[in-house]
């Protein structure tokens, strides 16, 4: 079987067979990647009897949307959902703003210690969050920030800063020098150059980093699980985990809960897939 479709001098029928085999392989992998999610969607619309008696991939006779209504209204899922939304939004805004300021100062301004500061941020990429968890917990305990959303938000900003700066770097280095030169000629201050000229020019890469941050923050688990104890401030990932504990046997409710927790990301992916793909690629390869 040919590995690439560049089948050179082979006769047409082997080439065609090769293509068919490649498509079968690629489709099989694609199927494996989405079948679990399709199954999840199907059982979120069934009751237990239907889950256990019907074939796993059989459509429910009538979709039981009441599973969704039930988990949304009965427990705290709606509260967890809105916590996830606002905590994610605040964290993403500050991460991207701070990272842009740092990247601007490092790549466009001249001062001693630039490379040291950049180095500190880049080494930060390698530090496992687990190794910082105990001191962070005791620090927040002393500051009376445990069970307070600020503990989670500050941690998200700090730990996502290195990757965000890394994605921004290449983009900032590529901006032409003439931009600042012209602005300085016109009497612009640094602040004006950054906020009025450079920030708008980097809008597309900012969008990319914002989306990557959004995915990380929305899905984050260990910080919330460790720092937050009361339901008031829990986010969806942790909330879902506890919530499912109450519904150990109601598969429809569990399915609906999981679907609610992943839908925002799936919808974002449908709308912004090109940018998400771009961001993930940019955030990984340069390391």
């Amino acid at each position: 079987m040919p590995v690439g479709p560049e089948t050179g001098h082979s006769p047409a029928w082997t080439r065609r067979l090769g293509y068919v085999l490649l498509y079968v392989l690629l489709s099989l992998v694609a199927l494996l990647q989405i079948l679990p999610l399709i199954w999840l969607m199907l059982f979120s619309l069934k009751n237990n009897q239907e889950v256990f008696d019907m074939a796993p991939f059989a459509l429910p006779a009538q979709p039981r949307w009441e599973n969704y209504v039930k988990v949304w209204t009965e427990g705290n899922i709606s509260l967890y959902f809105f916590n996830s939304v606002w905590i994610t939004v605040v964290s993403v805004v500050f991460t991207v703003l701070f990272a842009s300021l740092v990247t601007f100062a490092i790549t466009r301004m001249r001062w001693k210690g630039r490379s040291l500061v950049l180095g500190l941020f880049m080494v930060g990429l390698m530090i496992p969050v687990h190794s910082t968890l105990i001191p962070l917990f005791s620090l927040f305990l002393k500051l009376h920030l445990t069970d307070h959303p600020l503990s989670v938000i500050l941690s998200y900003i700090a730990f996502n800063m290195p990757i965000t700066i890394m994605i921004l770097l290449g983009f900032y280095y590529a901006l032409p020098r003439e931009v600042e030169e012209a602005a300085v000629m016109d009497g612009c201050s640094v602040n004006r150059i950054f906020f009025r000229i450079v920030l708008p020019m980097t809008a597309s890469v900012i969008a990319t980093t914002a989306i990557i941050n959004m995915i990380y923050d929305w899905n984050e688990f260990i910080f919330v699980n460790t720092f937050i104890s009361s339901d008031t401030y829990k986010t969806l990932t942790v909330g879902v985990q506890n919530f499912i504990g109450q519904y150990t046997t109601d598969w429809g409710a569990i399915g609906a809960t999981l679907m609610i927790s992943i839908l925002p990301i799936l919808i974002a992916f449908l709308v912004l897939s090109e940018r998400i793909v771009e961001g993930i690629a940019a955030g990984s390869v340069k390391g």
Binding site: G4, E6, V29, I254
Partner: protein
Amino acid sequence: MDKVMSNRLVAALYVLPALLLLLVLVYIPIVLTGYYGLMQWDGIGAMTFIGLDNYTRLIQDSTFWQSANHTFLLALFSALSLIGYLMIALVLSGKIKGANLFRKIYLIPMLLSSVAIAQLWLKIYHPSNGVLNSFLEAIGFSNPPAWLAEPSLVLYALFVPILWQYAGFYILIYYAALKNIPESLIEAARIDGANPWQIAFRIKLPLITEVIKVTVVLAVVGSLKYFDLIYVMTDGGPNGASEVMASYMYRQAFRSFDFGYGSAVGFFLLLICLVVTWLLRKATASKDTIQYS
């Protein structure tokens, strides 16, 4: 120009908020983790200095080494799975119609939280009603195993969702790198009579060596830190059969309230991550980098 752009006060104002957060929430904690490792401490009460006792205990702790073994096994699996991802990316990077769509479908699991993935796979592995055992029974296996309850199977069972979760991520990285190879190089090889195998293994793969090295580091170091999915699916069980270093650290600190010992485990994890990253980079460093632009 020079004067405006070398305004130190402004530079400091731009850098300080982020730098302070980095120092206070990342760098000081890793130093403190090493320090707490020298203490007998329940997390709330007074700390007692006990020197290297936690670290010597760590070295003699067979449960810890068991969890370290599981961690290394996961790292090995993850590194090996890269071969499969690379093959898929090679296929995908050829002139395949719909390559973009495939690449996007592969990526979907990577976007979901490990908790949601864990809960979903708990249901897939459910001994009586899960989709996996229903399928196995339908094709004639009368007594399929309870995957997550078997000490000999649990680690492999956990590896499947990990494989599933990260497939799209690595395929995407390889795909992007392969697509970056100038078409003219491949065209030239083809004109010289290279067959598809030769083009794949003699031209494409050598040209993306750097990216392959980066992914090996990512996969291995990522596995060392693996936590969320295991914590939710098995919590290290049954009987420690799926305990990994990160989950062991968490258990010692936040379940047994032995924060000193937990910190020692955490510090060890940090050292291993840094050493392994350094070793892998050194081992895979190439003297001559390939330039094709």
